[in-house]
């Protein structure tokens, strides 16, 4: 009898192999408290090291919006969208959640070596915890948005409540995104260097400070592609809910929902496929 048969005949299981997908999801569900608790603690720890602490969560994106507003407001001149400040702030705040999740996901595995070398648990909990942490950090910005709208003369409407399903779709989408970037940066370290570049590219192509349909008016093919960009779709939905004279269209809802569910499912599956490879350096 060889050793493998001997082990199997006594009910031993091979260690270090990837569990089946359903089994894996079961383990993740069983340890969901780990992801939740870790994201809460990590958020607290992040904010505890500066004097202004939590205030940075709204201060930083506000300063960013101010800088972009000054620079691009001047450059764009007459091409500046109507209700420029509410338009811009909605874009900058939402974008900061996407870029935060993307880069947190990229670091979720590579920066937790101590944990990975010591304990075995479903590794997907790490990028998941990273996105939950980003979402917790995003909540104050989300709460600030209605205040900004009122301050800059936007109408108070029930449409604001659409922010809740929009935020949930964004969460799904970002989770998938973080899973993908978490695996990619483990397998190809060089991609970690590209993260800021990709983020920049997304920023300029998602219409954060300009109206895509006006800038691309002369190029219908480019416009069609730009309209399918999920980040643009989420931001447009939020603007439709918040900013006067902007509208949520069924097209935007359908495209962003498909992206969210699609990227989420793909991300989880894609991350699981390489489960046995994380923490191996």
């Amino acid at each position: 009898m060889n050793l493998a048969d001997y082990a199997h005949s006594h009910g031993l299981k091979q260690v270090g192999v990837r569990p089946k997908f359903i089994e894996y999801l079961g383990q993740v569900w069983q340890r969901r408290d780990f992801a939740l608790t870790m994201s809460l603690y990590a958020s607290e720890a992040q904010n505890a090291r500066t004097r202004l602490g939590r205030w940075w969560l709204v201060l930083l994106p506000s300063l960013q919006a101010l800088a972009y507003g000054l620079v691009f407001g001047l450059i764009l001149g007459d091409l500046r969208p109507a209700n420029f400040i509410p338009f811009l702030i909605t874009g900058v705040f939402l974008f900061s959640f996407f870029s935060g999740s993307f880069s947190a996901g990229a670091k979720a595995i590579t920066s937790n070596g101590g944990l990975l070398r010591t304990l075995s648990f479903p590794r997907i909990l790490l990028p998941l915890a990273a996105v939950i942490r980003e979402f917790i950090n995003f909540l104050p910005q989300l709460a600030l948005l209605p205040l900004v709208m009122v301050a800059f003369g936007q109408d108070i409407t029930f449409d604001w409540l659409y922010l809740i399903p929009i935020a949930l779709l964004m969460f799904l989408f970002s989770t998938g995104l973080a899973m993908i970037s978490a695996r990619l940066t483990v397998q190809v370290k060089d991609l970690g260097k590209l993260v800021p570049f990709i983020t920049r590219l997304m920023f300029y192509s998602s219409g954060i400070f300009f109206e895509i349909d006006r800038i691309f008016a002369g190029y219908p093919e480019l416009l069609a592609i730009a309209m399918l960009n999920p980040v643009y779709d989420f931001i447009s939905l939020a603007r439709g809910a918040l900013v006067n004279d902007m509208h949520m269209t069924p097209f935007l809802w359908v495209v962003s929902s498909l992206w969210s569910v699609g990227i989420f499912l793909f991300g989880v599956f894609y991350f699981w496929r390489a489960e046995a490879r994380y923490g191996r350096d």
């Binding site: 082990a7 031993l12 299981k13 260690v15 990590a42 720890a45 101590g114 070398r117 075995s120």
Partner: protein, 254 residues
């Protein structure tokens, strides 16, 4: 197979011809290599750390692992824990082995207490269970005065104490302790050894990697000697430890 010796006893861990090969990237040029930007860089090196080790561990055994630095002990332990899957061969176990190694803090920016809670949750504790056990874990570690400090401020010894206390708080079928006690002080080491003997009584299997021969002989029922990635000797603690010490002293006098 001669690894299967006591056919009537129940096996807990089966290590079947395990090889561990690391691929190390980014070693850069050799320190004394010539010249010029176009010289060929050694971009990747393979390190064959474990070369075909096989053995079977039965219920109720405490296994000591000895061997010189760089002999492949830790690599073998990580393969058994499933943290670094073997390149060739396989490890089979009854349940998921838990490994306790030396090294950095789990989550350096969080307090000791939060590390206890997160470590417990990652090991599969329920939230309520770990909250209830936190006090006992802190008491065992003897770090009550430092428990609210971030773990990055802990010394190696304090960090090892905390991690051992977390791991030892739960009943493990298989626990691997990789030199985690070496940096602790004598008092804590004795306390930890007592705890390990207790686990063995509860039918847990413990692997103990250590350079402290007394510690190994006091706690283990069987000792494996790993050298250059191969299993050199496997037997009674006293016998193997004496052979190992003799070999080390021979090396010194040469």
């Amino acid at each position: 197979m001669d690894a299967i010796r006591n056919a009537e006893q129940k096996p807990v861990v089966v290590v079947d011809d395990v090889h561990v090969i690391y691929k190390v990237f980014g070693t850069g040029k050799k320190a004394r290599q010539a010249k010029g930007a176009l010289a060929k860089k050694s971009r990747m090196r393979e390190v064959h750390a474990v070369k075909g080790v096989s053995f079977v561990v039965h219920e109720g055994e405490t296994i000591g692992i000895v061997g010189s630095n760089g002999s492949g002990k830790s690599s073998l332990m990580r393969a058994i824990a499933g943290l670094y899957p073997s390149t060739k061969g396989a490890v089979y176990a009854l349940g998921q082995p838990t490994m306790l190694g030396v090294g950095a803090a789990l989550l350096p920016n969080l307090s000791g207490e939060k590390n206890i809670i997160l470590g417990g949750l990652a090991m599969g504790y329920e939230k309520k269970e770990i909250l209830d056990s936190t006090k006992a874990i802190v008491d065992f570690s003897g770090l009550r005065d430092f428990i609210d400090l971030p773990m990055r401020t802990y010394s190696q010894g304090m960090s090892a104490r905390l991690r051992f206390s977390i791991a030892a708080s739960k009943k493990h079928d298989i626990l691997i302790i990789d030199e985690a006690l070496a940096v602790g002080d004598r008092q804590f080491r004795l306390k930890a050894e007592e705890r390990i003997r207790q686990m063995r009584k509860d039918a847990g299997t413990v692997f103990l990697v250590s350079h402290n021969m007394k510690s190994i002989q006091d706690t283990c029922s069987r000792v494996l000697w790993i050298e250059k990635g191969e299993l050199l000797m496997d037997g009674e603690p006293k016998q193997v430890c004496e052979a190992f010490i003799a070999e080390m002293e021979k090396g010194d006098s040469e």
